[in-house]
């Protein structure tokens, strides 16, 4: 199966197999006018299979959100047909407006214009807690 290489943009590689569409929706890639390729179940030496997303435009990519959704991905930045940078992502220390606090007693459930902020409190167990009520994000 051949998919065109991209001239300027991103290749999001090493996405956990099955996660590509989640990332596609969460990053709002559906709204883009440029070409976006989603490759599911590509062969991977490390994990057996993986997903890949190619974006043929230099968009403003939310790396914190991407790192939260799948901390194992690699983002290749392509400029003039060449990879100029490979970014290995990790869990961000803080995520803003990526997820919503599910605690009905949390102030975020009623206060207007309040960002939904979660802080990484346990890197090993990948636990995020609401900045306001400290409920964990599950």
């Amino acid at each position: 199966m051949n998919i065109d290489s991209i001239k300027n943009g991103y290749v999001i590689d090493h996405i956990k197999a099955g996660n590509a569409m989640i990332i596609y929706d969460a990053l709002g890639l559906r709204e883009l006018d440029c070409q976006v390729a989603i490759i599911s179940n590509a062969k991977s030496k490390k994990t057996g299979k993986k997903d890949i997303i190619k974006i043929d435009e230099n968009i403003d990519l939310d790396l914190d959100k991407l790192g939260f959704l799948d901390p194992e991905v690699t983002v290749n930045i392509v400029k003039n047909d060449e990879i100029i940078e490979k970014k290995k992502l990790s869990l961000p220390e803080k995520i803003i407006n990526v997820a919503k606090c599910k605690n009905p007693r949390c102030i975020t459930s009623i206060e207007r214009d309040l960002d939904q902020i979660f802080i990484l409190t346990d890197k090993e167990k990948q636990v995020y807690r609401c900045k306001y009520c400290e409920s964990s994000l599950k």
């Binding site: 007693r105 949390c106 102030i107 975020t108 206060e111 409190t121 306001y132 009520c133 400290e134 409920s135």
Partner: protein, 304 residues
């Protein structure tokens, strides 16, 4: 300007200093009576509370200051849909310091992001209640003469009981503390308190459903009420509300110098026949609440 949102906002040294000032206030009440002349405390109680609000107001009045505010959200602009941020910005124009209670967890943190005056968290849902903890620490320190090397039993609603969470946070910073966590399965201490505080700091603790199992080992027994307002399902509340009842007979197995505390109000969890036992210190605890809040107001207003 500093706010008090969580007991962890205060260092051990700051807590010790507050206790020292509170003890000095108890010993020299007249010296402190004019300290807050001309200062105003706003008590914003978005959720009803008798003793915490009155304790704050009594504290400010005894320091020579004055108080304003509301005792439930229906008598404030919140009933018109005003946000916490807006309420705080407005009240900051009329007062020098704010004590707020809110049913939503994290509300005081939202408030302090917008406030022009110091904010004291007077309780936010089942989350934090730092001034109750300061009250507890002052009482324990006065009763025991120390805040280290003791076994503390916490009994009742350990899930929603914010006083319990804050007390564990605070006491875990002292040496030689062991906790006995006594609750029914439905009201066990949340995992985040265990992982973020007890396990993280290597604090010794055990969990049990039986109040009598560890009673002879306890130096302090902290009873709590099962709070109706924290339940979405009334049937659960009715089933659990009288799970523990401490009475005189049970106390026969306890140490002679046990200190029994309760943040009050109590319902049935401590039988009234315990009130005359010299180990019952919950009314002294309520009095300590006023003195430690006086010390706190002075500190937060920067008054020596």
């Amino acid at each position: 300007m500093k706010h008090l949102i969580d007991i962890q906002d205060l260092s051990v040294e700051e807590i010790d200093e507050l206790i020292k000032v509170a003890n000095d206030i108890i010993a020299n009440k007249e010296k402190y009576s004019p300290k807050c002349n001309g200062k105003k405390l706003a008590t914003l109680f978005f959720e009803p509370s008798t003793r915490t609000r009155l304790s704050f107001e009594a504290a400010m009045l005894e320091l020579g200051g004055s108080v304003l505010g509301f005792s439930e959200s229906s008598s404030s602009s919140v009933s018109k849909g005003e946000s916490v941020s807006d309420t705080i910005r407005v009240v900051g124009c009329y007062s020098d310091i704010i004590a707020m209670r809110h049913p939503k967890e994290g509300a005081p943190l939202v408030a302090c992001q917008r406030s022009t005056v110091p904010i004291i968290n007077a309780g936010d849902g089942g989350h934090n209640h730092p001034t109750q903890t300061l009250t507890d620490l002052l009482t324990i320190s006065r009763e025991k003469g120390r805040l280290n090397q003791m076994t503390i039993g916490l009994c009742g609603d350990l899930k929603f009981g914010r006083t319990v969470h804050s007390l564990i946070n605070a006491m875990s910073r002292y040496q030689g503390i062991k906790f006995v966590l006594i609750s029914p399965d439905e009201l066990k201490i949340p995992d985040y308190v265990k992982t973020n505080v007890l396990d993280k700091l290597g604090i010794e603790y055990c969990e049990t459903k039986d109040i009598e199992e560890y009673l002879p080992e306890l130096d302090v027994l902290y009873m709590t009420r099962v709070q109706k307002e924290r339940f979405f399902n009334e049937a659960d509340y009715i089933r659990l509300k009288d799970y523990y009842i401490l009475n005189k007979a049970k106390l026969e197995k306890a140490k002679k110098d046990l200190t029994i505390l309760h943040p009050l109000p109590r319902v049935n969890e401590i039988s009234t026949d315990v009130d005359d036992d010299p180990r019952a210190k919950y009314f002294e605890q309520a009095l300590c609440g006023k003195y430690i809040r006086m010390a706190l107001i002075l500190k937060m207003l920067g008054i020596e």
